[in-house]
């Protein structure tokens, strides 16, 4: 079995003339939880969207399970087993919870999708209760669960989460991180983007610190938790 799941090598991403990502390289090994931390505007979402194929890098390469994916369209990348829970959840507000989940399984056949749906409902019983409800009327926490469940519908090998704790009460944040750990234990490799560095590092194996489009530091999560510079910048002293 391949060990390296995702390999990002020297990517440079631009928004028009803005050079947002400057020569970033990193990797995620199978079974890991890797976190990408950094301040607002550091470029975390840009990296995830580049890996997902929504944005293109001018240089370098992105490979997933040893296959180059840097020039694939997003739906091919999802079909290959790489899903993203986007920043701000982005559930389809005018569709029901269950329709949202169905969209997550878009690349899969009917029987497989039904199986995934049963799995997701098992993991998120709340979503099953709310399955006929319009997603726009779900609470923030429920929407986050829906966004995660929706990404799981494609049965990804690698799940990328962009700030899943954003805007949630502390108790819900705990719950979300608990679920991320469970998913990882069930065999899903995780790439977690967070501003809540403390929480992210507490469940991660390794971390990368991103500063204005560049990787400033990379180390094991425990080292980063004790790194003075990181403590100062991201862990509140």
């Amino acid at each position: 079995m391949l060990k390296t799941m995702l390999k990002v090598n020297d990517i440079n991403v631009y928004y028009g003339s803005i050079h947002a990502i400057k020569g970033v390289s990193f990797s995620v090994e199978r079974g890991e939880i890797v976190t990408l931390i950094g301040a607002n505007g550091a470029g975390k979402s840009t990296i995830l969207n580049t890996v997902s194929g929504l944005l293109r890098s001018k240089t370098g390469s992105v490979s997933f399970l040893d296959k180059p994916i840097g020039s694939l369209v997003p739906h091919k990348i999802v079909a290959g087993g790489l899903a993203q829970v986007p920043e701000g959840r982005r559930v389809f507000l005018n569709m029901t919870a269950e329709e949202n989940l169905e969209m997550g399984a878009f690349t899969r056949k009917g029987a497989e999708a039904a199986e995934s749906l049963a799995d997701v409902y098992m993991r998120f019983p709340r979503l099953k209760e709310r399955r006929k409800q319009i997603a726009g009327t779900l609470s923030g926490g429920e929407q986050q669960m829906l966004a995660m469940g929706r990404a799981l519908m494609s049965k990804p090998e690698l799940l990328m989460l962009d700030e899943p704790s954003m805007g949630l009460a502390p108790i819900l944040v705990e719950q979300i991180f608990e679920i991320i750990k469970e998913l990882n234990a069930a065999g899903v490799t995780i790439l977690l983007v967070e501003q809540n560095a403390q929480m992210a590092l507490s469940i991660a194996d390794r971390g990368y610190v991103l500063e204005t489009g560049r990787i400033a530091t990379s180390a094991s999560a425990s080292e980063l938790l004790n790194n003075d510079a990181v403590k100062k910048a991201y862990l509140g002293g």
Binding site: S52, L54, H75, P86, R90, F92, M103, F106, A151
Partner: protein, 292 residues
């Protein structure tokens, strides 16, 4: 009383054609935020296609109907692929100007190929008047209303229940996230144009039954009125387009019934102005979300 009913039927007949055409405007706007002003000219192409198949190729009306609807569908998708897809990330104004350009192109092309004068479209559908409760109704009016209602019911089913229909809703709500779900956005947009154009094709056939003439600019006014219907119902909303279409048809019928038929077109545009001033989102439209 019978006059009221017959005017009502007239209104429903033209209203259902407006509704069919308005659906294409609304669906396309919903998915790529484009007011596709070439949409009305699809109707003209449908009428010429029906005329061509019957008069030039001397084939039967059933084939003419099928081929005309097919021609509209293919044309809609070709326009989207050739003219709109390359502009997907351009400013919306470029897209709008392109749509107007395509409209002129189609009208002038038709004039070049078929001449500026009208061509008489032979009867595509015919049948005896239908009598309900002592009142006689024109066969074509009844067929028009029934075909439109059935088409709209099928469209509603498509959009609500099928995988492709749900993809259309997802893409129109959030294109980026739809891509992250594994939805093929290009295919979904083309499919939307195909469905919208097929509905315009059906509208074109029904219109040609009522007014059996094909002329290069016939789609312009019809298209504009359907556009007003889409705005009235709430552009981007499918039930809104249906409702708007019927409202416009009935409004015209009422104006004619009170003897002001010269004001028919004026009233439609007065409705547009009132809607834009009073409630720009239309009857069933949602507040416009700026897309990110």
């Amino acid at each position: 009383m019978s006059l009221v009913i017959s005017q009502l039927i007239n209104g429903l007949q033209s209203g259902s054609i407006y509704a069919l055409v308005a659906l294409g405007y609304s669906m396309v706007y919903g998915i790529i935020m484009l007011l596709n002003f070439a949409h009305g000219d699809i109707i003209m192409v449908g009428a010429y296609a029906a005329w061509f198949v019957m008069v030039r190729l001397s084939l039967n009306p059933v084939l003419a109907i099928i081929l005309a609807i097919l021609a509209c569908t293919v044309l809609g998708v070709v326009i989207e692929k050739v003219a709109y897809t390359p502009l997907r990330s351009s400013p919306r104004l470029s897209l709008l100007i392109t749509a107007i350009g395509i409209s002129f192109l189609l009208e002038n092309l038709a004039q070049r190929v078929f001449g500026a004068g009208a061509q008489k479209v032979p009867a595509l559908i015919s049948g005896p008047a239908i009598e309900i409760g002592g009142q006689r109704f024109s066969f074509i009016a009844m067929v028009t209303i029934v075909v439109s209602v059935v088409s709209m019911a099928l469209l509603t089913f498509l959009v609500r229940k099928t995988k492709m229909g749900k993809a259309m809703r997802a893409v129109s709500e959030d294109m980026g996230t739809a891509q992250l779900m594994g939805i093929n956005v290009n295919l979904t947009i083309s499919f939307t144009f195909a469905v919208g154009s097929a509905l315009a094709g059906i509208g074109s056939i029904l219109y040609s039954c009522a007014y059996p003439q094909a002329s290069p600019t016939m789609g312009a006014m019809l298209g504009l009125k359907a556009f007003v219907a889409a705005v009235l119902g709430g552009i981007g909303s499918i039930p809104g387009a249906m409702l708007g279409g019927f409202c416009i048809g009935l409004a015209e019928a009422i104006v004619s019934a009170v003897g002001l038929s010269v004001w028919k077109d004026g009233v439609v545009f007065a409705i547009l102005i009132v809607v834009l001033v009073v409630k720009p989102t239309g009857i069933l439209g949602r507040a416009i979300r700026e897309k990110v």
